[in-house]
C-alpha cells in the first residue's frame, strides 16, 4: 500500500458515467475567476491540452477520495503560481474513459507531461512529492546552459534601487500630481526605505494616480522615477506584481507610444519593471494561500 493513496475498494468499482459530454468543474470553494485549471471532458480534450503546452501536470481524483481533498488546495495554489505549467484535473468518477485511458487504479494519481509525452507518474497526497516532481519537470524542460552562461544566469536579477534626491524631485515635480499627504508619505518612505517599520504609501491610490498621469507633462519622468525607486522595496514590488500589474502595463504602453527622444522617461520606465523579477523568499503558506496573502500585503501597505 502506497502511503497516502486512497485505493478504491474492489466492492466499489468506478461506475461509468451516464454522460461525458460536459464535465462540470468540481465544487471547490476557491474563486472561479482565479481558476486556471483545465477540466478535459474527453481523452481528445486531454491530449489537446498536453500537446499544446510544453509542460503540464494532471491530477486524477475522485469524489470519495479523502487524501485528494487534502492536497487539492495545494494543487490549486500551485496552478496560480506556476503559470508556466498547464494544470489539469480529472474526476475519474465523472470521467471514466479518461481514468481508464490513463490506467488509473487509485486516487490521487499525478502525471506530468513534457512536450505531450508522459514524464513522470506518482501516487499519493504528498505535497513535497508534487513540488519536487514539478521542479524536476521544469528542470528537464530547461535548455542546457554552457558553463560561462550558466554562471551569469545563476546570478540575481539586475535592479536599480537608488532613491532619487528628494529635494530636487520635490522642487521639479509637476504640480497637483500627488495630494500633499500622499507626497509626504512617498517622501518619508523613500527617505527611509531600508527601515521596514516605515509604512508603505497607499499603493492603490498611487497606482490610480499613475494610471491617470498625463505623460505630456514636463518632467513626467520624475513621477515614474518615484515609483521606480519605491519598487525596490519588496512590499511595493510584491503588490505591483500581483494587484498593480495593470498599472505597470499602462505605464509601459503609454511610454511606448511617446516620442523615442524622451530617453529619461524610457530609462526610468525600463528600470521600473526590473523589480518585478524579484524572487521573494517567503513562507510557503504566505505565497500559496491567496486568502492569507492578500490581506497581509494590504496590512503592510495600509
Amino acid at each position: 500500500m502506497i502511503d497516502g493513496v486512497f485505493a478504491r475498494p474492489p466492492s466499489q468499482p468506478i461506475a461509468p458515467p451516464t454522460s461525458t459530454s460536459t464535465i462540470p468543474p468540481p465544487s471547490f470553494p476557491t474563486a472561479q475567476a482565479l481558476d486556471t485549471i483545465k477540466y478535459p471532458a474527453s481523452v481528445s480534450d486531454f491530449n489537446d491540452i498536453i500537446t499544446s503546452s510544453k509542460m503540464s501536470v494532471a491530477f486524477f481524483t475522485s469524489a470519495t477520495c479523502g487524501p485528494c481533498k487534502m492536497i487539492e488546495p495545494h494543487y490549486r495554489s500551485l496552478s496560480k503560481s506556476r503559470t508556466n505549467i498547464k494544470f489539469i484535473l480529472v474526476d475519474i468518477g465523472k470521467n471514466y474513459a479518461l481514468g481508464q485511458a490513463h490506467g488509473i487504479t487509485a486516487t490521487p494519481t499525478f502525471k506530468t507531461f513534457l512536450n505531450g509525452q508522459q514524464f513522470a507518474e506518482w501516487k499519493g497526497a504528498n505535497k513535497s512529492a508534487l513540488d519536487d516532481n514539478l521542479s524536476r519537470l521544469i528542470e528537464a524542460a530547461r535548455p542546457p546552459l554552457p558553463p560561462n552562461l550558466r554562471g551569469h544566469y545563476s546570478q540575481s536579477p539586475i535592479l536599480f534601487p537608488r532613491s532619487p534626491p528628494m529635494e530636487k524631485v520635490l522642487s521639479q515635480l509637476p504640480d497637483n500630481i500627488f495630494p500633499k499627504p500622499m507626497l509626504q508619505s512617498i517622501s518619508t518612505f523613500l527617505g527611509k526605505k531600508e527601515d521596514t517599520h516605515v509604512l508603505v504609501p497607499p499603493l492603490s491610490n498611487w497606482a490610480e494616480i499613475q494610471r491617470k498621469l498625463d505623460y505630456d507633462l514636463e518632467n513626467a519622468w520624475m513621477v515614474v522615477d518615484l515609483l521606480r525607486a519605491a519598487m525596490s522595496d519588496k512590499r511595493v514590488s510584491g503588490w505591483f506584481a500581483i494587484d498593480g500589474l495593470s498599472t505597470i502595463e499602462h505605464i509601459v504602453k503609454r511610454v511606448h507610444a511617446r516620442d523615442e527622444k524622451e530617453w529619461q522617461l524610457r530609462v526610468v520606465t525600463v528600470q521600473l519593471v526590473h523589480p518585478l523579477y524579484y524572487r521573494l523568499i517567503i513562507d510557503r503558506e504566505l505565497v500559496f494561500n491567496a486568502v492569507d496573502y492578500y490581506p497581509k500585503f494590504t496590512i503592510l501597505s495600509a
Binding site: K54, M55, S81, R82, T83, N84, D131, I138, E139, A141, R142, P143, L145, P146, P147, N148, L149, H152, Y153, Q155, P157, I158, F160, S237, G238, A241, I242, L245, S246, I248, E249, V252, K253, V255, H256, E260, W263, R266, V267, T269, V270, Q271, V273, H274, L276, Y277, Y278, R279, L280, I281, I282, D283, R284, V287
Partner: protein, 140 residues
C-alpha cells in the same frame, strides 16, 4: 521556506510586446550608456526568468531582441571614439546567449542570426563567453 517568482513570463505577456519594442527601439536608437545599461539589464532579467521557468517569449519577440542585441554590439565596436565598457559588452553577450537558447527550436531565430552576421560580431569580442555563444549558434 520556499521561493517562487511572483512575476512570471505568462503574467507579463499582456504588455511584453510593448516592453520588448520599447527596449529594442531604445537600444537601437540611443547612444546613452545609461539607457543601454538599463535595457541590457531588462533583457537579462527577461532571459533569466524565461530560462528559470523553462518558458520562452514568442518567436517574434526573440527574433527582434536577438537583432537588437547584435546591432547594439556592432554599434559598440563601430563607435571607436566612445569609451569602451567591457562589462556592458559582456552583459549584451550574456543576453544574446540566453535568447539564442530560448529560440533554439525556432527556424526564424536561426535564419536571423545568419542575416545579422552574429558570429562575425562575436568573433570580434574577446573572452570565453563570446566563444561559448558562437558554439551555441553553430550548434543550432
Amino acid at each position: 521556506m520556499f521561493s517562487t517568482p511572483l512575476t512570471t513570463i505568462p503574467s507579463l505577456q499582456s504588455f511584453l510586446p510593448e516592453m520588448v519594442e520599447l527596449l529594442n527601439s531604445a537600444v537601437l536608437a540611443t547612444k546613452s550608456p545609461k539607457l543601454i545599461k538599463a535595457v541590457a539589464a531588462a533583457f537579462f532579467n527577461i532571459a533569466r526568468l524565461s530560462l528559470e521557468e523553462s518558458v520562452a517569449p514568442d518567436e517574434d519577440e526573440i527574433i527582434s531582441i536577438v537583432v537588437a542585441l547584435v546591432e547594439s554590439l556592432k554599434n559598440m565596436r563601430v563607435n571607436e571614439t566612445e569609451k569602451k565598457d567591457p562589462e556592458l559588452e559582456r552583459l549584451l553577450v550574456v543576453c544574446l546567449g540566453g535568447f539564442i537558447l530560448l529560440g533554439r527550436d525556432s527556424e526564424g531565430t536561426k535564419e536571423i542570426l545568419g542575416g545579422v552576421e552574429a558570429i562575425d560580431v562575436l568573433k570580434g569580442i574577446e573572452g570565453a563567453l563570446a566563444g561559448e555563444v558562437i558554439g551555441l549558434i553553430e550548434g543550432l
